[in-house]
């Protein structure tokens, strides 16, 4: 079963745990060289950050790609870099899950609620956000659902708009909820090193 295989991959990976800053930080190293890092809140067990990194074809290490959590705020010094970069007034897209649902927040979207339309495209396994004024468009998949190969259901999807932020939610199905609970139990079993600088064995 697909749900099983993802948790198997997780079990096979080398894991290092660290408790720091009121957060449980876990680093996974997968057999194919990919790396994943997660951060959980110690008190609520909520997933705060999940990010990925892998080697490019030529062997260079790529930047961390954030799946869940706030995007890294780049320091101001990089502003005068030589290449191209999105202006800060553009919409910022991020995933931020709650206990019962996947949630995406798009900040800096000042248009009224009628402008947006959010729909599931089951054939392409993704969610599409459109704007009738042609200012914003985003097509994204739900990585958790893809890993477990669960079908997308349009009835689980809803969205609201307030304070120039569009919030799209997708209710987590039963399979995901049980998987997350199992994983959390597993993670708590890993002996976490305490505060301070420690060598990350998997890196």
């Amino acid at each position: 079963m697909a749900v099983q295989s993802w948790i198997d991959i997780l079990r096979l990976s080398k894991k290092t745990a660290l408790i720091h800053d009121e957060k449980r930080k876990i680093h996974y190293l997968f057999p194919d060289g990919k790396e994943m890092a997660e951060e959980y809140d110690l008190s609520t067990d909520e997933l705060i950050v999940r990010k990925w990194r892998n080697k490019s074809t030529l062997g260079a290490q790529t930047q961390w790609r954030i799946e869940v959590g706030e995007p890294l705020i780049s320091p101001v010094t990089s502003l005068d870099s030589d290449v191209i970069k999105e202006n800060c007034s553009n919409p910022i897209f991020m995933q931020k899950n709650t206990q019962t649902s996947f949630q995406w927040r798009i900040r800096n979207l000042p248009y009224p609620k009628e402008v947006y339309s959010v729909a599931v495209e089951p054939s392409e396994r993704c969610i599409v956000i459109k704007t009738s004024n042609k200012k914003y468009y985003k097509k994204f998949s739900i990585p958790d659902m893809d890993r477990c190969q669960l079908p997308l259901d349009s009835s689980a999807l809803s969205f609201t708009h307030a304070n120039s932020t569009l919030i799209v939610s997708y209710k987590k199905p039963k399979e995901i909820l049980t998987l997350e609970q199992d994983l959390l139990k597993e993670l708590k079993k890993i002996k976490a090193t305490g505060e301070g600088d420690v060598n990350c064995k998997t890196q």
Binding site: I84, E86, K139
Partner: protein
């Protein structure tokens, strides 16, 4: 004149400087590899151009590795021009690395390391890689130059697709390349996000009604759909050296302390060779052997030559082209004399192309081409005089006189260089023979004249 100097906003495309060989556009051969008398900036030297054409075909085929060619001839007979011609006809995808023999002597790097880096720069690997690109129609470009004329420029670029619109902040390099590509509102462009490379796809159909003056080759394309940022598989060519550098860089925060390249460990190289061979077998990558051109090859010493012997035997080695203007001379680093200053065992592995001095007619032709390149008009008599100078002194000296004479002519508000202008610059600037003559006559009044060693040691 008391006009205040206004800082000129210079267009980047106009700063194309004219180099010694910028008139060379190819080898000037027809389809049957027969050399044309005058073509693509090349004049005369028929046999050696033909030979270079054969070598070129061998390089293009790409099956033969580790062949070496030596272009030998007197100074000013077009050795470097032939090498440049080969480079030009190879096209942008085949790596061509040029270096001078003395470039490899450095305190930071051993000679053989510098040579192996040069060898690996000349081997290209064509591989598919996923990159992030931005593809959209330009809505607006706004570039703010600081009022003082100096300092960083600030730019904004608005791009759109049929579905969305995004504003981007531009860095200095980006602004430069946008103005170099002459990107304007209504163009459909792609930008490689990692490298900043801009490709113009054409003009948007919605702008087709604008009655702009545009070239016949302007293409109209649809405005892209969907998201602006896409991940796309692109095929690009990187050199083995670039892969080496990527993989040898110290990871993490240690990268801050170690220098950029320096020497590359041989284990890293071996790993990469193995990986590239693996990719090739899987069909993921293609190896493009390029050309390594070493000018003034007599400047290499014995160790380098024996390194070359060995390096040429590897199957991952490029075609090596060397040029020298020496006759029988001492091999650097030894006390032995050898033709071209190259050991006999290496000479034995080379195909040697000889260049011969130009005839008067050819010299005339070359000077004409250079005049066009340097945008100087020459009268018929001045051309004849200059050709004589070229024959009697050297071609290089005659070429130098072109732009100087052009300046003299412009100063007297003439449009065409006359014999008098040539005479004037000829008297202003000495050629090598006259300078030597002068030295002989007035040697006593120069400094350090008491050292009377007859000949200078050149090697």
């Amino acid at each position: 004149m008391a006009t205040t100097k206004v800082p000129e906003v210079r267009d980047i495309t106009r700063i194309e400087r004219i180099g010694a060989h910028s008139h060379i556009r190819g080898l000037g051969l027809d389809d049957a590899l027969e050399p044309r008398q005058v073509s693509q900036g090349m004049v005369g030297q028929l046999a050696s151009r033909r030979a270079a054409g054969v070598i070129l075909e061998m390089i293009k085929d790409g099956h033969i590795a580790g062949r070496a060619v030596l272009i030998a001839g007197q100074p000013g007979t077009g050795k470097t021009a032939i090498a440049m011609g080969i480079a030009q006809s190879l096209g942008p995808d085949t790596p061509f690395t040029a270096l001078a023999g003395s470039e490899i002597f450095s305190l930071e790097m051993s000679k053989t390391e510098a040579l192996s880096q040069a060898f690996r720069k000349a081997i290209g690997v064509r591989i598919k890689e996923e990159t992030e690109i931005i593809e959209g129609e330009v809505v607006e470009i706004q570039i703010d130059r600081p009022a003082t004329g100096t300092g960083a420029k600030v730019g904004k670029l608005t791009l759109k697709t049929t579905e969305m619109e995004t504003i981007y902040d531009l860095g200095n390099k980006m602004i430069d390349s946008l103005s170099k590509e002459k990107v304007q509102a209504g163009d459909v462009i792609t930008i490689d996000k990692a490298t900043g490379k801009i490709t113009k796809l054409g003009r948007s159909f919605t702008r087709a009604r604008d009655y702009d003056a545009m070239g016949a080759q302007t293409q109209f394309v649809q405005c892209p759909e969907g998201e602006l940022q896409k991940r796309k598989e692109v095929v690009h060519t990187v050199s083995l050296h670039e892969i080496d550098v990527i993989n040898s860089r110290t990871q993490g925060f240690l990268a801050l302390f170690s220098g950029d390249t320096g020497e590359i460990k041989s284990e890293v190289r071996e790993q990469i060779n193995a990986k590239v061979c693996e990719w090739r077998e899987e069909g993921k990558a293609e190896i493009i052997p390029g050309v390594l051109f070493i000018d003034e090859v007599h400047m290499l010493d014995m160790e380098c030559f024996s390194f070359l012997n060995r390096a040429l035997e590897s199957d991952l080695s490029p075609v090596l082209i060397m040029a020298t203007n020496r006759g029988i001379t001492r091999i650097r680093g030894t006390n032995y004399q050898s033709p071209h200053g190259i050991p006999i065992d290496l000479l034995d592995r080379l195909l040697i192309i000889a260049t011969s001095p130009y005839t008067e007619k050819e010299t005339r032709q070359i000077l004409k081409i250079r005049c066009e390149e340097e945008d100087v008009e020459l009268s018929e008599e001045a051309h004849t005089v200059l050709t004589r100078i070229g024959m009697e002194t050297s071609l290089r000296y005659a070429i130098q006189l072109i732009s100087t004479a052009g300046l003299v002519c412009r100063k007297r508000k003439g449009t065409e260089v006359q014999v008098d202008d040539i005479k004037r610059v000829y008297s202003l600037f000495l050629d090598e023979a006259r300078s030597s003559q002068y030295m002989k006559e007035y040697q006593d009044s120069f400094l350090f004249n008491e050292t009377q060693t007859a000949s200078m040691d050149t090697s």
